[in-house]
Symmetry: C2
């Protein structure tokens, strides 16, 4: 992308861990980016990266035809879209709201209908991969939206990720796929803590467990990532415990609405809740091992 090509401005609400990465990825590809966060510190970081900070979501939307929302949950998404000075108040007819947060599929499909009532288009585009991959444009995206909406966003989506999966034409389908993936991630994370802790209690060495599991049929991406950082006493909070707790909870809610039992997911969710109850809300979600430690006194290396 040469600098002589003038790309249209893009709006982004919520330059947090993932949102700031996306902001940098868009700027690097030449898109002017207008941002807004509730936290002045996040606005300052986005400004330092080259974005223009606006006074409200409406002000962001007034500058761009596409506004990306990367906030925490459905409640924040609703406020950002429909609150006073929300996106809807500023976006021109035919504009696109791209929702990257993990929300319930029924919420997302309803949001798309409500936006359509304002002559706005919705793209359901949950993301996965963490801040580093957001910044490098290599996070995965699970995308659902009308042909018209996806066409309008094509260049922006291409700048955001080289790992884009179009799930279907209906907003909500991307969120469904995200919940299916994160149901697995949540189960695997609880399973990793469960297996590692009983192995330690039985007298095995943590690194031996890690090496054997990752070379055998017990391997998972979550085991590899979370247990590696845990064994290495890496105290960075790459993913705070409440986030995946919420996502597994959303998967259980979706399933309940479909009268669909998720016995394994439900038991994993209990491990997440127990670990939160033990006081690990500010810790990384590799802290699930404390759920087992609290009961069994297993010594951690």
């Amino acid at each position: 992308m040469t600098s002589s090509i003038k790309l249209p401005p893009v709006g982004l609400i919520g330059p947090g861990a993932m949102g700031l990465g996306i902001t940098r990825a868009l700027l690097r590809r030449g898109f002017p980016v207008h941002v807004r966060d509730l936290d002045p510190a996040r606005n300052a970081l986005a400004q330092a990266a080259g974005a223009v900070v606006e006074s409200s979501p409406a002000a962001v939307a007034a500058k761009a035809g596409i506004v990306i929302s990367v906030v925490v949950d459905a409640a924040q998404t609703d406020e950002v879209c429909f609150g006073a000075d929300g996106i809807v108040a500023g976006l021109q007819k035919g504009g696109v709201v791209m929702v990257c947060s993990t929300v319930a599929p029924t919420y997302m499909s309803g949001l798309a209908d409500r936006l359509a009532g304002h002559a706005l288009l919705a793209v359901d585009a949950p993301i996965s991969g963490g801040p580093a991959r957001a910044e490098s444009g290599t996070m995965s995206m699970m995308i659902a939206g009308s042909d018209e909406a996806l066409e309008l966003c094509a260049d922006v989506l291409a700048a955001m990720s080289d790992k884009r999966f179009v799930i279907g034409p209906t907003p909500g389908q991307g969120s469904t796929m995200k919940l299916v993936n994160n149901l697995l991630a949540g189960i695997h994370n609880a399973a990793a803590a469960e297996a590692m802790s009983i192995g330690l209690k039985a007298g095995l060495d943590a690194n031996t467990i890690y090496d054997v599991v990752m070379a055998s049929s017990g391997a998972s991406w979550m085991f590899g990532d979370r247990m590696r950082r845990w064994i290495d006493h890496d105290d960075r909070v790459a993913a705070a415990l409440p986030i995946l707790t919420k996502d597994v909870g959303l998967a259980l809610e979706m399933a309940k609405g479909m009268q669909f039992p998720l016995p394994v997911g439900a038991s994993a969710h209990q491990v997440f809740l127990g670990t939160l109850a033990l006081g690990h809300a500010l810790d990384d979600d590799n802290s699930l091992i404390h759920y087992y430690r609290a009961m069994t006194g297993v010594e951690l290396p």
Copy 2:
């Protein structure tokens, strides 16, 4: 290995799916192999591969200083070792019994003590990876035994696997590691069925689910292997459902003995038992999806 080097004979009880693969791997490396199976058809296959079929485990043991047992479970292992015409009746003092079956760690440590009473050595060496990797010598092995026993078996172990993990000096430790791994494999397999089936019920496409999960944080070795074969309608029985059901059950038994809760493993085991109850005992363990189908009527592709 040139054919001019004369290697000592090795005994193998149970040339089944894994045992025949091991037999072939040993023969290829130049070890004469003496075998015995209860099933004449398995003996014939071993003979066709170049092994010498003997009339009993005792007769096998009379020809070799190391006897590998690759039978189904602890009951068969006990019969093979201590039954009439068992290994103990034929093996010279100082000989080694290598147990590759997945058994309870307490059973394995007790077996080692009982063999020691006959002046015999035990190697606890559970295996993982399936028949093809057994034959190519690339299965993984989780090995526990005294320095003396492991030294006696060094060449045989090297011929059996290029992925050997020495877990510790005490028989039972290899079995513990195997149960920790297979606890994970069992949970991941149930989670794969759970996530795939709710995704299908929610209207997603099976191949889309597969591709997104395997590129995202929900990836696991089990999801990749079992769901690939399931989507492809591959009807080979690579691993019959009762085997992993038994292994997860052994992990739960081990944990119960340690007063250690495995909430996620326990819920996964219920999915295995439910699928067996539905009549899938002769099917591959990727049939867990029928547990969810039976309740929800989810259409399978």
